[in-house]
Amino acid sequence: MRILPLSLPFTTLLFKTLLFKTLPLCSALLAGLAGCIPPPTSFCPEQAASPFQDPWEVRTRLATDTFIEPLEVQTTPDGLVLFCSGVQGLNVVNAQVPNAPVRVAGPLGGSLGDRRFPRCQHIALDPSIDPQSLAFVSNRGDEIQPDAYIAGFAYRAVGTPEQITHNLGQRTVEGLALGDGFLYAAMHNEGVAVFSVGASTLTEVGTIEGLNNAWSATVDNGLLYVVDAGFGLVIYDLEDGANPAELGRVPLSGAPQYVTVDAALSVAYVAAGAGGLHAVDVSTPSAPGWLGTLDTPGSALQVALAQTDLTRPAPFAYVADWNQALVVDLADPADMRIFSAERVEVSDGFPRVLGIGGAGNFSFIGEWTGLFVAELFPARSAPDLRVRQLLLEMPKADVAEVVSAALIVENIGSEPLSISDVVLRNRTASGDFEVGPTSLTLAPGEADVLEVLFTATDDRTAQARVYLCSDDPDRPATRVDLVGNPERNGRGDLVDDFQMQLTTGGTWRLSEELGSPMLLAYFATF
């Protein structure tokens, strides 16, 4: 059960402030190359090498000179990767040699856009190799780029500016889908706008109504699949592309916001934020049927299929899942399972995976700071350590008082996981931390708790890093930051009172709202 499905939009939209620089990274295979560092095993000096091989290895990161905030990622059959950047607009990458991606075009921004922040969140593209093939991108409109717009680029013509720009002003637009001469734009509570695609213009010819919060869409075999974040999946017939006719719909939990279709299996996979990943039988479009749901660890934002032969069902799906990327085993869509997970290495320790694309065994992970290329090895299996809290804040403690907190560890891999040691580093003098037990074995799917004890030696903030040494081949030393007695307000403190103006009018004061538990969600709109 997920209790806060509507928190997803916050998680997808609000992490947009710091400019993070990413450490160079590599897999063991690339260790030794310039600019590439091996996993930080040195933090676990007594640790033996893992007997396992990582089933999903990060190979490289697309080099950029600044952070790029990748959002939707799309691939073409001939090895191009297109990704939207919330900062830079559309980027086109040649990944015909996946381990050595090269940006060949972009950033491409709509002419309506602020040149510093052309912005783009979603893509719909014509994958044919025709040089005039168009890729359309959308900008939803926000504080930084107030005009919502759709822009179309001849993405195979390097350096070509957009051919079509359509200003939506103060309206809003999210996901896009291209049909036969028509563009379908999910417009949240306006439904889906239908555009006729001309040589240099988009002409709005209609609207699909009856939706609560149209978030994204895709076209497959003459059918339009729309995900409604306030309902589920709705399927339309495109025999008359200007006037899609609803065939069927199925409610789905969470906040459905991305859909892709495995035509060979007649199954639609829907990323539904905190609702996880849904599989829907679409073999009878007039009566789509829910098959199963994978409760992903984070928030499922985009799903791409690891499919090279479109006549055969995809064996795996790649999922952008907020703090991690996932490979999901699709052998039984009604019983999807995590095959491997990846928390790419970023300097602050908090990866934010917002988009993902797939091309067979290669995947392109759109993380906040860059585009990472990872290779899947289906024959391998390994343990996979997931630590729930990368920053663990202890309850407040008086001097000499001992307080405890639970550090939750899970094995989301497919082999038993062995934690062999726990190493504390970078300890400050204001307190002592202890973590135990220092060794632990977890079966696949099992979770357990490490107890963290904190003894304050004075009233200043105490910090330490703990490294969990395990046989997870991907992350043999997993770092968690510990904080005791933070000088700011923290766990156990009374929150400071404040007041604010509600958007609906009137004043809201915290002290007047107490009496029941409350969640304060701070956000900005950019």
Binding site: M1, S7, F15, T503, A521
Partner: protein
């Protein structure tokens, strides 16, 4: 649950942009604009991003979870720990 807009990247979030954001996301809980800097009380320390910050407080206003990096499982566990157990129709307690 209450959403607290803090003024944005350049400090120029205004009522119109916040209302647009509410429409885009479909959120239904109350949202307010607070440019007084109340979020500064949670800032400082390692790995701390300014947004989003989720603060779970109990009935007395004591902080029970301070989350700088939304984790669905962590939030779910913290909220459930604060809520009274659900009662089954037969008078028992839900698992």
């Amino acid at each position: 649950m209450v959403g607290i807009n803090t003024g944005g990247l350049r400090g120029d979030d205004d009522l119109a942009s916040v209302e647009r954001f509410i429409d885009q996301t479909g959120i239904t809980f109350p949202v307010g604009l607070d440019f007084s800097g109340s979020h500064a009380q949670y800032r400082g320390g390692p790995r701390i991003s300014p947004f989003p910050i989720d603060v779970l407080v109990d009935a007395e206003g004591r902080i029970r979870l301070l989350s700088y990096n939304y984790d669905a499982d962590e939030m779910e566990a913290a909220v459930e720990a604060l809520l009274p157990p659900l009662e089954n129709t037969d008078g028992g307690t839900a698992p």
